[in-house]
Amino acid sequence: MDKQRQAAHSIKLALGPIQYFWSREMIMDFYRDMSKTPIDIIYLGETVCAKRRQLSFGDWFDLASKLTACGKQVVLSTLTLVEAESELSAMKKICHNGHFLVEANDMAAVEILSREQIPFVAGPFINIYNGHSLELLARQGMVRWVMPVELSKATLTQIMHATSAPVRQQVETEVFSYGRMPLAFSARCFTARAYGLPKDNCQFICARHDEGLLMKSQEDQTVFNINGIQTQSGEIYNLLQQTPAMKKIGVDIMRLSPQARGMEEVIQQFHLARTSMREIAPDPAGCNGYWFQRAGMENCYVKDKRL
């Protein structure tokens, strides 16, 4: 079946990498539960902070093998902000795993994978904002891209129109569709800062916040969510209702980002949305502004009833 027809038939669901610092036990329990859900693709690995090492490379690899045996496609994700030599080595190990597809989250991973002609997924912080960049990376071996979160449906449609047919065949399009969006990465650890700790002696304080630490305005409005060196959207991005629209424009995969609680229900909702013909009611909670070319934090269903 060619890709276009397959997309019209059913959109795939991917579980993004865990963004928070969870205990080993929590990670294992989580994926045991996830293996029983209708999720198609699972991204594994630490993408935020190199100091978080609850699982070694070998552990991730074993977990990947188990999940593959459960019928999931597994992708190993690399760190997003790569500064130190030790981080580069860890990243190279993932690139050279020899078995699983790799999600490159930094241009260093793109360089290594493309230089060695290993197919790769471009993660959401590889800056692909137009068809020219998409085509260029496709020539370097990219087989899937995760659209930068700040781009809209309108821009995505334009990018797809601007892409040649062979590249559209080769490269799958994935859209971040549920969860707290990664918005920024820094040298500074904001969780440690909130506790008055230096980054060098952070005491892994971020482990206390398995869904991050909310950062509100002085008027108690939720603004961002602090997760170590990463800053996330305060609100949960939710494009559930846009599932039919995504199918229509040719999105192949919807990414759901792990939250510590309630993930199975979320997956069930998306699974229902992709299989049923019924219309889904707009959700007044969470945010969806980026998809509609507005400020990311906005909920356009609430703001504009016509959507």
């Binding site: 260029l136 700040e150 990465f185 500074r188 060098d200 990311g296």
Partner: protein, 331 residues
């Protein structure tokens, strides 16, 4: 080390050239560059005039075309490269891969510098840009420590330019969507952060509040100096406490690190501030020229003069300066 100075308009360019810049960087008057602010930047006529002035004084001109084009606007970026080549720019500063590819295919003799917005923080990333677009130089994000920069310089396939002074991005440049999350406009897409059109200043219950698209960024009492509401520098509520949860309003100042940067092999120092006044440019360039000249004349006796530091503090955000990520404790 080359002193690369900001020019948001012709008077600033003149100030930079007159006070000792080795190179100036500037942008066209549209969203193709990362300081797309109203009233700033250069139309064709001003660009020609600027080129003439810089040339006469043997100062190089780098043109920043360093935002990420979306499909609808692609032609604008293409034209910006065409125009930069036509006026004879010494280099273009670019972030987007597609734009770099266009530049190298059409103008193989036009040097490309990887913009800080390209967000390269390690030598393997630089290898990618060198291999595909033959970049000559990279501007390094303000997230690396001095030691990390040292390691990077040892392995980099291209010359490195680092930020020496000015407004401080706390996030890795090119990988920050905070501004578009609150306002719909970001550095990558639109060349703006915390855009002025989304800002409101208001007196509320005896306090001065600053908002960005209605979101309260900060609230100031009678005796406090209010700062522009750059969203990462506001005061927020975390764990029940109000604080500068991400960063204080402060400027980067590395004038004390001149000997180290030189020893590492850094080729150029960048001064931030195309959005600032010609007076700021004159002041900062003047101090940095003195510092670099003083170092060149007697490296072993170099020390940052008190009056340099005072002059720089006066033009700093919140009148505070920091070594930023260069110094480990900051992280």
């Amino acid at each position: 080390m080359e002193l690369v100075c900001p020019a948001g308009n012709y008077p600033s360019l003149k100030a930079a050239v007159d006070h000792g810049a080795d190179a100036v960087y500037l942008g066209f008057r549209d969203e193709t560059n990362a300081r797309h602010f109203s009233g700033l930047n250069f139309n064709d006529r001003k660009m020609e005039k600027s080129m003439d002035y810089a040339r006469t004084n043997q100062v190089k001109v780098f043109i920043a075309i360093n935002t990420y084009p979306q499909p609808g606007g692609w032609n604008k970026w293409q034209q910006a490269i065409d125009q930069a080549a036509a006026v004879g720019a010494d280099a273009v500063i670019v972030a987007d891969m597609g734009v770099m590819e266009y530049a190298i295919q059409h103008y193989p003799d036009l040097p490309i510098h990887l913009s800080v917005q390209g967000s390269a923080t390690n030598h393997e990333s630089l290898n990618f840009y060198k291999r595909h677009f033959n970049i000559q130089r990279a501007v390094i994000p303000r997230v690396l420590s001095l030691n990390q920069i040292r390691n990077l310089a040892g392995k980099s396939p291209v010359d490195l330019e680092v930020f020496g002074f000015g407004s401080l991005c706390i996030m890795a440049e090119g990988r920050c969507h905070l501004s578009s999350y609150i306002t719909g406009e970001s550095p990558n897409m639109c060349g703006v952060c915390s855009p002025a059109k989304a800002v409101t200043w208001q007196r509320e219950d005896g306090a001065l509040t600053t908002r960005l698209n209605h979101v309260l960024i900060d609230r100031y009492g009678e005796n406090e100096n209010a700062a522009y509401p750059t969203l990462c520098k506001g005061r927020f509520l975390v764990n029940g406490k109000i604080s500068h949860a991400l960063e204080e309003p402060t400027s980067l100042n590395t004038i004390a690190l001149v000997p180290e940067l030189h020893e590492i092999g850094i080729k150029a120092i960048k001064i931030e501030g195309r959005q600032r006044s010609p007076a700021y440019v004159a002041q900062v360039v003047n101090v940095w020229r003195q510092a670099l000249d003083s170092f060149a004349a007697a490296p072993e006796h170099y020390h940052p003069h008190t009056d340099w530091q005072q002059a720089l503090s006066k033009v700093s955000e919140g009148t505070q300066t920091t070594l930023g990520a260069y110094s480990r404790p900051w992280q």
